[in-house]
């Protein structure tokens, strides 16, 4: 990261809309980079930034849920960040250079800015059915936890990261769990079939059946329970239904302001929107991916942090392109699933079976350069290899598939040879 400060002197007031990890990280990064003007950080949730990943993971399995805050309120105050929590932004006026918020006492307040960052996040996609719970905020997690009890039966709709993590968490609390997935297999978006199969086998070993190519066609409350009618005609009497079927970017504010939106707020490689004074980062931003040449939008914890850094630099005129390799992880039972890079660009794949039970799937392009890696295995055993894979993807040099397949050749020695 560049630290040379070209603090464009006309930038004195920066407003960040969205006080989750992305927006808050950006606000702190502005200070790290030497910006000493006004920073106003506006969030609609009533608590300061907390980590969302644990909400679908550890938080479901433990008795007491504790939020993990990357920054304390004292750290934010010491950085002179004007934090406005529980405040909704009603509109953006690009011409005037202001945002309008709900203020105390029901009034409205106009806050001027020289640079504006939109870190608005995403919202869970919803089914056209009542009686369904979703997971995004800590309040959602509390509500979901209240539905989990050892004698109950939980129906999970969607076998993606969130759905399967919830299934594992509920199972660890002793619940019976059934997972239905509309697609032909689990984890269809970014995890290759071989790795997904090992994750599904893990769930089956824990007594959680997965029914693919199955949707919920109706839900009916029967006393304390809910009767679910499935697309194959089967009916399940369950205690709760939770859906993890993807998310849609939160873009209404940007659209209303006249910014370009197309499955996310459209930004360039510096995360600048169609208005050069306005930036977007995190789940809500659709950005050009240098490796694939296409546009991508990532809903991931790492991306929220990486793009916060890039956006902060860009707002200060420190030109910096966002080139980070996408990275995702999931915890299910005692195993970790991790992915680096984006699938669909690989021409062929190599499987690496480690003797500790870790399976790595390495996707290569036509020049035998690594473009995508996915792994699952016990503990955090996948972490090192995926991190090395991430560096191999960034290096973008041709590799020897035979070496990649051989678990006797450490990936990091391949990386050393490749980057020497």
């Amino acid at each position: 990261m560049s630290t040379s400060a070209d603090l464009s002197s006309d930038v004195r007031r920066i407003v960040v809309v969205g006080a989750g990890e992305c927006g808050t990280h950006a606000a702190m990064a502005l200070r790290d980079k030497g910006f000493d003007g006004e920073i106003t950080l506006i969030g609609r949730e009533s608590v300061h930034a907390y980590e969302r990943p644990p909400l679908s993971k550890g938080a479901l399995a433990v008795d007491e849920m504790a939020l993990v805050h990357p920054w304390t309120p004292e750290q934010l105050a010491q950085a002179h960040i004007d934090l406005r929590l529980g405040v909704e932004v009603m509109g953006i006026d690009l011409e005037a250079g202001t945002v309008t918020t709900t203020a105390d006492a029901g009034g409205e307040e106009e806050i001027p800015w020289d640079r504006l960052l939109l870190a608005l996040g995403s919202d869970p996609r919803r089914l056209q059915l009542d009686e369904v719970t979703y997971l995004r905020t800590h309040e959602d997690a509390e509500a979901l936890r209240a539905l989990l009890h050892p004698d109950g039966h939980l129906l999970v709709v969607g076998a993606g990261f969130i759905g399967l993590e919830i299934a594992a968490g509920a199972r660890e609390r002793g619940m019976d769990v059934t997972v239905v997935e509309a697609g032909s297999r689990a984890l269809g978006r970014i995890v290759p079939e071989e790795v997904a199969a090992q994750v599904v086998a893990l769930h089956e070993a824990h007594g959680v059946p997965l029914r693919v190519a199955t949707t919920v066609t109706g839900l009916r409350r029967e006393g304390d329970r809910v009767r679910a009618v499935l697309s194959d005609g089967d009916e399940l009497l369950v205690d709760a239904v939770v859906a993890g079927i993807g998310a849609t970017p939160t873009t209404a504010l940007a659209e209303a302001a006249g910014l370009l939106v197309d499955d996310g707020i459209v930004v360039d490689e510096a995360l600048r929107t169609s208005d050069p004074r306005v930036f977007a980062a995190g789940d809500c931003a659709s950005f050009p991916d240098a490796r694939s040449g296409g546009r991508v939008r990532l809903e991931s914890w790492r991306n929220a942090h990486d793009q916060a850094e890039t956006a902060a630099a860009s707002m200060l005129g420190q030109t910096e392109a966002h080139v980070a390799v996408p990275w995702f992880w999931s915890d299910q039972y005692d195993q970790m699933l991790s992915v680096a890079g984006l699938p669909g660009t690989g021409e062929r794949a190599v499987l690496r079976h480690r003797d500790d039970g870790v399976l790595l799937h390495l996707g290569l392009d036509a020049q035998d350069r690594l473009v995508h890696a996915a792994a699952v295995g016990p503990g955090a055993g996948v972490a090192k290899d995926i991190r090395v894979a991430e560096k191999l993807i960034a290096a973008a040099v041709p590799l020897d598939p035979a070496q990649l397949e051989d678990p006797g050749v450490p990936l990091r020695s391949i990386l050393k040879a490749a980057t020497a």
């Binding site: 990280h25 942090h305 955090a380 972490a383 090192k384 090395v388």
Partner: protein, 103 residues
């Protein structure tokens, strides 16, 4: 000073880390690219992840879950998501064996 023998030099590859336990306490033992050894608390200061599953590169250990980064020589936290430095411990190598002093 109270030195505890934790492993042999060859147990740790260059630019790598292993986890050891001293009186039930998890300790991470690092071997730098130049062959020198360092030791720190075994868990990340962020969310109690075991650092021995992490990657050592260019003198930095990365937490396996969140990529919190610490300098192995002195435990300095290298930026978000980690803001608290990692506690380090003295290490000595004698006759091919690595010893750590928890003080």
């Amino acid at each position: 000073m109270s030195w505890t023998r934790v492993c042999e030099v060859d147990d740790v590859e260059e630019e790598d880390v292993i986890g050891v336990s001293i009186d039930g306490r998890d300790i991470a033992v690092y071997r730098a690219e130049d062959g020198s050894f360092y030791a720190s608390e075994g868990h990340c200061t962020h969310e109690r992840m075991l650092l021995c599953e992490g990657l050592v590169m260019d003198g930095i250990i990365e937490c396996p879950k969140h990529n919190g980064r610490f300098r192995i020589t002195d435990g300095k936290a290298m930026g978000a998501p980690v803001t608290v430095d990692l506690r380090t411990h003295p290490v000595k190598v004698e006759d091919g064996e690595v010893h750590v002093d928890l003080g």
